[in-house]
Subunit: 360 residues, 2 copies
Amino acid sequence: MSFPWPEPGTPLSQIPTPMPVIDEARMERNIASAQAYFTDCGKDFRPHVKTHKIPALALQQLAAGAVGINCQKITEAEIFADAGIEDILITYNILGPARLARLRALNDSISGLRVTTDNEATIDGLAATFDAARPLQVLVECDTGGKRCGVQTPQAAAALAARIAAAPGLQFMGLLTYPAVGGAAVVESFLSATMDLLAQQGIPCPVRSNGGSPDLFKAHEVPSATEHRSGTYIYNDRAMLRAGHCGPDDLAMHVLATVVSRPAPGRAVLDSGSKALTSDLLGFADFGRIEGHEDARITSLSEEHGVVEFGDADFPQVGEQVRIVPNHTCVVTNLFDRVVFHRDGKVTRVLDVAARGTVW
Amino acid sequence: MSFPWPEPGTPLSQIPTPMPVIDEARMERNIASAQAYFTDCGKDFRPHVKTHKIPALALQQLAAGAVGINCQKITEAEIFADAGIEDILITYNILGPARLARLRALNDSISGLRVTTDNEATIDGLAATFDAARPLQVLVECDTGGKRCGVQTPQAAAALAARIAAAPGLQFMGLLTYPAVGGAAVVESFLSATMDLLAQQGIPCPVRSNGGSPDLFKAHEVPSATEHRSGTYIYNDRAMLRAGHCGPDDLAMHVLATVVSRPAPGRAVLDSGSKALTSDLLGFADFGRIEGHEDARITSLSEEHGVVEFGDADFPQVGEQVRIVPNHTCVVTNLFDRVVFHRDGKVTRVLDVAARGTVW
């Protein structure tokens, strides 16, 4: 037995909490402004669907002009392919016979599947799985300062590109990177140096994919990049606000919560703990910003409770709602099976977070 | 389309990662040893199901001798009630007409429902919902140093108890508290002082419920407590190991992960990020312990990747598995729709995490 979900028109004040709520108008504006920027600077835009995990929203992003989508798991990509999306980039080293078999089936079912790699073992697995009748498009991931995945030098990138280009079942498509800690110049330098090496070898490199939300509106500072990937821009969050990517009126996701206890002076407890907000701090000292009570601090979380310390006399009483700007939207999305959308505070629709919990 | 789940007998080395895997023998031993302790010291034991969220495991805990279970959400309690469990304590201030209606229905359907409260607004909502024909059992939550929910003084506890006792539809059952930062003496002092006040008013207080896993085996140090609640003890985790509650051989949950990149010397990337391990640090400096590579550190997580820094020459290569002891089991459980169980490294069963994501 599950709670009845709110009907369209229901005021947000009447929905059970905790619950992420998405402002349709702000989300539409975020989609439109990012797309307008990329159209203007002549780059393809490829939203990362991890932020929402909802096919209907990916279709809105594509309708606005996005070239395709970005996923990180095969099972995630399958859900979006089932919704009719043909252009999907999986930015992951895909390994092992079970995943490779699924990847081959997915490549047979859509027209524009791409994956990334940063190592020979992954390339060899892909090369053994695909053949020239239906080749797989592959990009080489480059580490331009993020210190996660990615080859460390243009020489290493070019060597992997050659290995891909030599495999009959694989088609080398280009290069991919993720936020440059050192800024646009580092990315540009890595990409252009690798392109030079590839040109010397006669290996075409049509795609150069850059990424990240905080610097989204600086994507033009990397002229060699042909496309940009970004997830968080659709909802935005406290970290994007701090980074200067957006303003307070661009925050499309809030987590609605209810005060369930006021146990001591200056302390309140919300029904939103790490099961609603996650423990992601992203450099903040507390777990979210409470709208209208910016001096209040969510100082600790247990799974079902968030403890707030506040100084203002008008902090809400037991039973009253607060609206929280989460530190990080993407991880909040992954906690909820469904999410509520609204326009001007009235529910518009409730959507399944269809790709929540996709681990493979 | 979902991945096929492993059949019984499958070696863990062959299952797709990331995946929490539970050692049946260790779990059985954890259940048995905690229960033996509480039986020996004459206290009721009430496991908190948040750690596993699986009815079949709650039934194992009850079969071992547990008096009932502990939940924190109505929707969570309903799932366990549907599995035939009659004695359920919901340790939460339940507020609002939708939840109160559901709580009344649940109280009609099982014989032993109890809730907690720490404020008058919650009591008044409960009092208006229940009647003498089918009263609801209510405990008062006391803050003995945890600084979450709970009244601050024995006098405040006694005042709420009197308010509950005066409501025709409510039955005051006793007191509840959660870990004493100040140790057992603080809990004992708060409970006994409140019991004295209640005795003076002629209000019976049959239940005194204490809680927490780290100090589980010290529960006898609180003589006034009649029962103890604990969740994590069934799986254990890195935090329980640090607290001295368990040894390495009592760790029943591991997160299996695969190395997907070795991008630079001394750096590896796992397929386990915050969607598998969560960002819960619980005071640790990194996001989990890798078995057999205790000097390696999981230094950062993105959603789908965990970055490891290591110094040992034999750290696994791309495509090889590692076993991670998570910092905090309960939050890992909440991320996965299903969990794999094993005995001696061979799969025994795959169970739905039925109460995952219950938010209301």
